[in-house]
Symmetry: C2
């Protein structure tokens, strides 16, 4: 348990002492990757966003805030919030876009639930610019609440409400393969299950059911790759196949796709031909059939992705499907970017990018400190 997780479980009086006592172990664990971080640039911006005229921007007829405003107004929807950081020595390395999965946010890629370094900072420290979006309709990207308000106002039936959902502690234990049944972990489980409560803080309602079809995140990811001057797109779980979907919208700046623990949708010949031009890495963890309820889901996901990789190869593509046990990494969960060996897996990803993706990318178009010296 880390100082972060523990500290707020206890009262304010005990807080100082306990947190101080726990500082040492966190230090020791990160000595090899700590130290100053030198950034050439950082910031945040939005990609996309459509103007919509909503007739229910609040759930009360007196309008938002009750301040006497009309309850009809123009709002923005479908936008995608992105944070980015550019390390000093990144000029030769391709930017990496890290997109989170269901019921999660960009937090997925930041510090782990037990306070270790996540992939975002690790890729930065390995000299890649990193872009961290929240999916359209999630977290800082906002969502369209019009239907919820229309139902509250009696303009639509309750059945019109979007299906808002997340995974609770017990269902996540199964689906994310922390163990065979809550609260028992697998003997070799790599997820820091002692920090399950802190992980629960990351799990927030999924509002993708409020989005139009196709999901605007596809287009937004394709445009983000252009703004980054070319990028490797990484998706996870719900968004595992979003990099491929983005490339099918516009592949011009998608220099590599990495699909982690996702579902590879069936595609037609023309789509396979387009994607075969982009180096592709598909990754799964361990224990795919070890959790009773999700066993068939994960088997089927693996099979679908095996078929996809075969199709890409038949079309002349560079495609790899790796199950981590095949490369000697055992016990990895669905949240492998937060597992205890998360940086070993990150090393595999970095090595795959080095060997498969053209590195001297274009010039990023977003950012404000372009005058900083380029290394």
């Amino acid at each position: 348990m880390t100082q972060k997780t523990l500290a707020l479980k206890i009262g304010a009086a005990a807080l100082l002492a306990s947190a101080l006592a726990l500082t040492t172990s966190a230090q020791a664990a990160n000595n090899n990757i700590g130290g100053p971080l030198i950034l050439k640039d950082q910031g945040s911006f939005f990609v996309g966003g459509d103007t919509e005229f909503s007739d229910a921007i609040s759930g009360q007829t007196s309008g938002p805030g009750g301040f006497g405003y009309s309850n009809s107004d123009y709002i923005k929807v479908n936008q995608m919030y992105v944070q980015f950081q550019v390390p000093m020595k990144s000029a030769r390395n391709i930017p990496i876009v890290l997109l989170h999965g269901c019921c999660l946010t960009a937090k997925t890629w930041e510090d782990t639930p037990d306070g270790r370094m996540g992939w975002a900072e690790y890729f930065l420290r390995n000299n890649h610019a990193v872009y961290l979006p929240d999916q359209s309709s999630r977290a800082r990207s906002g969502f369209d609440a019009t239907t919820i308000n229309e139902v509250k106002l009696g303009q639509k039936p309750a059945t019109a409400l979007p299906n808002v959902f997340l995974f609770g502690r017990v269902s996540a234990w199964d689906l994310f393969r922390f163990g065979p049944a809550y609260p028992t972990p697998f003997a070799d489980e790599q997820f820091p299950v002692e920090s399950l409560s802190d992980f629960g803080n990351q799990v927030i309602p999924d509002l993708n059911a409020t989005l139009p079809t196709p999901n605007p995140t596809y287009q937004n990811m394709a445009n983000l790759a252009i703004l980054a001057g070319g990028a490797v797109l990484v998706g996870h779980s719900e968004s595992g196949f979003f990099p491929e979907q983005a490339a099918l919208v516009n592949s011009s700046a998608v220099k590599g796709v990495i699909s982690i623990e996702g579902v590879c949708s069936p595609l037609n010949g023309a789509q396979i031909k387009t994607l075969a031009k982009i180096p592709t890495l598909i990754m799964f963890g361990d224990h795919l059939t070890g959790s009773p309820i999700s066993a068939s889901l994960w088997s089927s996901a693996l099979q679908g992705c095996q078929t996809f990789v075969q199709q890409l190869k038949a079309a002349g593509g560079k495609a790899t499907l790796v199950q981590l046990p095949q490369i000697g990494l055992h016990g990895n969960s669905h949240m492998l970017m937060q597992d205890r060996n998360n940086l070993e897996i990150a090393d595999y990803v970095l090595d795959w990018i080095d060997k498969n993706v053209k590195q001297n990318h274009g010039r990023a178009l977003v950012g404000k400190n372009r005058n900083a010296s380029d290394n």
Copy 2:
């Protein structure tokens, strides 16, 4: 208009050329504050979070994802997500916590809608550690969707739905004092109104109506101040008085409070006595009565805060209320941290902190790179 705002309004073909053409002006504007940023530490974590047993974690009886899970499970609610950055030379300076207002997120304090530097990075570059929370129930902090799902499932009436709301383009123009009436700006308006569409992307639904009373963000902010080793708490608009509310929960680590464009609630004598021990800055912009619908709201907010400051002073407190025109800054909107002269206002804030807040604070308890050298 910046490359960020403009770039995604146009098609992919025109995107490269336009964005490149616009890079120059953004560079020029930031020459004085650009250059490498050296961090001792950065990361993200959660403060608080309660475990709740929800009987409707999705809006379908087949449970979340339709994967065969129970629709009842343990979820986390009331947690507060926080990002932080610690610059190398911060040891002598008090950390600053920046909390956003209604329908907004921590994005408030990052790059402005027209792509200039926000207060978060500016305070960092002035050697203060900066903590950026999303309010509990907003953005990456998640929210409790149980009631929405119960209504969808027919277990509760539509009237039980929370009042979810935001401010649209026309109402924001009035409330945020961009001008006397949409789309006309004040002659001396400082908000970058040409970037209104990009600002609209920041405005997301407010779900505070889903929270228990008292708002858990108060306790979370007080605990965050402890974890930061003492901090100045800054609130804005809806959260303008949250720093004071946090100090009333636990003032032990609240070393200064700054309330920007908020409503100062009436307090009793004991509460005033507690807050009088903490240096307090209240700030308002310009044109408080210039927008017809919000004129009475802002007059009343100003009056309430004038009373509050008088009460603090009568109790021996160090308290200042500043209307920006009084110090020669004119045309500032409700979103003054994003206005064209936002860094001039930031300088005033930094100067106020220097002169009023004890600077040699305690040692922060969160963060992972504590072994980095301390300057």
